[in-house]
């Protein structure tokens, strides 16, 4: 018990004095996961819309597959991206392994299924009467799609929040493709909150771990607050 309290106190000190290592790690976490979320949104939302509005054989199976991928273990994604980006792999010549870009790629791939699936759910949640109303008002196909997405915007925004949450809190892929590197420059390091927590814990630095954990929670909370505020406007 004493250890935990000691840890929390030390954590507060690290945060309040803006310990540079801790700050760098936190900033990197946010930047990487935020970028991954944005990229994933730009892919998942149109993709989800295309799947939802489209009619093609195997549509139901595709949606089932997407929902199954929700539970994709992060280490599997990490392993896959690792194999693809490794020097001996098909994309090795990009030399992206152990860079922040690799982590963004991994996190994007990781959260794509859940964001696509939740977008589809969001769109199906739009009342059929609304859809009839839009068509009866003479919407062209494009106007119709745009309006339905607008109606579902809050649910889609929630999907984005879920995506970010999953991205910033995952460890498996981040360690595998990032390598948890602490380099002298911000851009070359790949240590983020989750991988740092993992490392510090295994080295027995409890207070550091707790500090990083608190920050991670605060970030997740802040993002969700922003999303909720937007939703209530």
């Amino acid at each position: 018990m004493y250890e935990i309290i000691e840890g929390i106190i030390e954590a507060a000190r690290l945060i309040v004095t803006l310990d540079p290592d801790v700050m760098a790690i936190s900033a990197r976490s946010i930047v990487i996961s935020l970028t991954a979320t944005v990229v994933a949104t730009l892919v998942a939302v149109p993709l989800g819309a295309a799947i939802y509005f489209g009619t093609f054989p195997g549509k139901k199976s595709l949606i089932n597959l997407i929902q199954t991928l929700y539970s994709l273990p992060t280490v599997i994604v990490g392993l896959l991206i690792f194999l693809l980006l490794s020097r001996v792999g098909p994309f090795g010549f990009f030399r992206l392994l152990f860079t922040p870009t690799a982590m963004i790629i991994a996190q994007t791939v990781l959260i794509l299924p859940i964001m696509t699936g939740l977008t589809i759910s969001a769109l199906s949640g739009v009342d059929p009467v609304i859809r009839d109303t839009l068509r009866s008002l003479g919407a062209t196909r494009f106007q119709f799609l745009k309006s339905v997405m607008k109606e579902a915007r809050f649910a889609i925004l929630a999907a984005v929040a879920v995506g970010f949450g999953r991205a910033i809190s995952e460890v498996g892929a981040a360690i595998l493709v990032g390598g948890n590197i602490m380099a002298s420059s911000f851009a070359s390091s790949t240590r983020v909150l989750t991988t740092a927590i993992s490392l510090e814990t295994s080295m027995g630095n409890i207070s550091q771990s707790i500090a990083l954990g608190i920050i991670l929670l605060v970030i997740a909370l802040a993002v969700n607050l922003v999303i909720t505020t937007i939703q209530h406007r």
Partner: protein, 358 residues
Amino acid sequence: MIELEGVRKEFDGKSVLSGVTGRVERGEIFAVIGPSGSGKSTLLRLVDLLDTPTGGTIRIKGADIRRELGKSLSVRRMMGMVFQKPAVFNTTVAENIAVGLRFRGARDAAVKPKVEEALDTVGLAGYGERRARTLSGGEMQRVALARAMVIEPEILLMDEPTANLDPVSVATIESLVLRINRDLGTTIVFSTHDMYQGQRLAHRIGVLMNGTFAQVGTPREVFTVPATREVARFVGIENIVDGVVVGEDGNAAVEAGGIRVRAAALPGPGEKVSLCIRSEDLRITPADAAKAPPGRNALPGIVTAIVPRGPFSRVTVDCGVALSSVLSWKRVDDLDLREGSRVVVSFAPESVHAVGAD
């Protein structure tokens, strides 16, 4: 304006509409009435091009909408529709109303005054900036109506528009419907399961039953001269007596349940008929009162039930067949009617309407 020829619609093998034929004239208010599930919504959705018919033809302003698919958007754009469930978009009232205009590419400067005018028309002036989802059901439906009207449609379709609303909202919407038709000449087709609403608002009524129009006519026709037994039931004729025609011409009568009923306009002897008699046409008098004038049917019987209905009472009499009429409480008291009273039910042959038994 709208022509329907043998329109059919099936869903998953189940037939909902099995050959609807009818016309709606320009500038009239046409009501589609019928029991729940009779396909009223389906029919309206087919007209609004939200669905395609499995068979038959629909012509709007002479154009076969199935054939000329390329024009479907422009055809749909001359119609407006209000649905049973008040559906408003998750934005302000003004934005809701403006949706149709924006789809047609109207600029902000043109949109604003039209929206204001529409709000005024439906009695929601000043509601523009409120979030539409916070309104009451009746208000939302008025928004939906304003939204449909602001695009100046030639045809307005309404699918049970007042079904879920309180009486005051119902009245408001009904008066709006009448005004729109009167002031703008809009052709209005609406469906309802409330036949009295149909009677109040429509120039003509189509009774949709079993997937087709069982009868199309003016409210008076439908209510007093129903075409079939089922229509008679639906429009609320309480007394329907099944029997067989006996005698001919001047002596024609119907044998039913051991009694004879004289009626005008009967088919030939041996024909099975159903006789429809409206409650208002029945007179109930105590058995010992003065005799009824000749020519009227006068059936003696015993009161079997007196059921209150508002300020009236429905009195049911067993005269060999069950007949019932509606009397005021005062009348019931004056005549000292109670269960078991001996009475005579009298009605003129002209008030008996015979329909072929089906």
